[in-house]
Symmetry: C2
Subunit: 405 residues, 2 copies
Amino acid sequence: MSDTPKPALPLGFRWASTTAHIKASGKPDVALAVCESGATAAAMFTRNQVVAAPVTIGRKHLAATGGKVTAVLVNAGNANCATGPSGIDACQKSCIAAANEFGCVFDEIFPSSTGIIGVPLPVEKLIAAIPSAKAALGSSQTHAEAFATAILTTDTKLKVAHESFEISGKQVNLFGCAKGAGMIGPQLGPPHATMLVYLFTDLAACSEHLQAMLEKAVDPSFNAISIDGDTSTNDTVLLLASGQSGVTAQSTTVPAFEAALRRICDSLAHAIIDDGEGVTHVVTLEITGAKTEADAKLIARSIAHSPLCKTAWSSGDPNWGRILAAAGYAGVAFDPANVTIDIGGLRVFDHGTRSASYDEAATHTAMLAREYTIALDLGEGEARARFLTCDLTKEYVSINADYST
Amino acid sequence: MSDTPKPALPLGFRWASTTAHIKASGKPDVALAVCESGATAAAMFTRNQVVAAPVTIGRKHLAATGGKVTAVLVNAGNANCATGPSGIDACQKSCIAAANEFGCVFDEIFPSSTGIIGVPLPVEKLIAAIPSAKAALGSSQTHAEAFATAILTTDTKLKVAHESFEISGKQVNLFGCAKGAGMIGPQLGPPHATMLVYLFTDLAACSEHLQAMLEKAVDPSFNAISIDGDTSTNDTVLLLASGQSGVTAQSTTVPAFEAALRRICDSLAHAIIDDGEGVTHVVTLEITGAKTEADAKLIARSIAHSPLCKTAWSSGDPNWGRILAAAGYAGVAFDPANVTIDIGGLRVFDHGTRSASYDEAATHTAMLAREYTIALDLGEGEARARFLTCDLTKEYVSINADYST
């Protein structure tokens, strides 16, 4: 254990986990977070046309309460998606059971599920686990990390982030946690990931204001990452504010809070890619010189999702022609004669042709770093986009192809 | 050798190959096809914004001649793409050299290149190889197959197709050949793959009519396949007609010709997927019940390009939730409650939930077949699309990640 003091957690929350044996592994698979006084809430959900039952119910509950949450109940190991009306029914039953434990109305329970699609949720196991989860609640770092651990599936690492700042002698704290690690290509929309992200703060803010601040932080972070480009049916980012710092969101406090929220989101988004299935290289795509931000994003996504680019990155192959080709089929008009490409700061393509300074061996060496940047300037305008992605390895194929009846 | 008589080749063409040592392997890498009387021509090229020099020059030459081709000169091992003005110059020089050999104007030479992007074409090797290719020309099956072999790169199999039909006692012949096997996600547009396809016939038809017939055949064949979704900078489909069958394209002959052309294109498109890099399963996606054909195609492409679907297919994993999720993020509005999914004829998803008849073991067994169909009905309308794709294996990653300085 390190001697560094642990950062402070937001006041007003308690966390716990327990084991309901929904995960075949027998690891903790139920996570519970409670704000007994009721937290204000904002959320963003997947834009997939197919959504899991907890996404449907989560949206409904936030709408019904105007954004108030007493408890978050998460199960891992089963997505409760494509389970029809009985999936909705199972989710509702679990919310009612949790509400009974905490003496709140059932729509103040926010449900989440992650795991396999299309298998009925063993809701009786989930409901039976609620009392033991409640008994385990606590406000220490250990409790927060227990919550953050139980939501994991194929993840290999815990993904947590902390921020604190002071305003007029009062401290505001933020804590966030996330799960990755496959089916990651989030496209989060307002009150609409199996990326799950839970953000807790003790700032006091209304739901509408929290929603605006959340959307501003999610767009350049969770909406600008991709592992496999498969947008999940369950992606959810939830922000809860207990208000117990005594600091209210207003013009003097919002900039510091927004900056802290953005750092938490950037940190967790990076952690998701870094722990992506089979990932050996984390690549930042910096697209500049586009006519519009939408154009820059299209090019970034096209490169990020190209199997030929991603496999080349896995071996540090400087085959930049694949990057240029993926840009070329993104659906954005441009002239290659205006384009430059730099890998790890080394110019490889310069206005229509291989760079005069191109050094294949040096570029290969730069690409052996676990993290590096690929910069592509279109030479067409002033708009830009930043996107975080990763390589495609045999290990990714193994993880997702392993099957035994 | 089999005793089955070889199908007849179209009259008026001669083919050859030679070795110019552009491929590092030392295998034949220059393919030459000649129609000394001049063939009428139609072509479709990649819609990538970045195109190889031979695509630029091929477009120009067809425009300049109104669609007349005396010789097709193909090199494999170097794509002559992202090579700037000197790449254009190299391509033009090779056309001038070929024109001098065949006594035609240089714009009657149709150039093609396939291989690595961004490396200067060793044009002096290509030019030096033309006389020996010319000396090797002949009209036998062996000669046609020599042409079809020299255009290959990572392909493991020769891809050729033949069709013949009789009209009023006269025989019309078609011969086609293709190369795959990676960077396959063609999006061919009118006079615009590194899919290369060459189609030869002895029908007599004008260039405009050939173009119309070619577009009609390419849309449901080469434009409805994908290995990795990476649309190449060099994709080209060329159709040449010598006219030497004595049969002219007219209302009585066109239906038979169009049917034969479609069969050739379907056969070659299938052969490209079947020989795709690392492919162990060929999957036909049948999307039905869409509001528009464009919607059906979007859903098919989304499933075809999903790494999670493709890796599951590699092991016969019936994880149909991934198929449903990929449909859900295609950008098409639909209600999962109207959707059915069948894998290899077995119902797995039925109107919003797992099929009552779902049999995981039987579905897994169906998916062990090398080829099977996944049918998804949206229940929204009458439009449909068919798309041919494949699994994603560790072998694909190996082929595209192998790199040594």
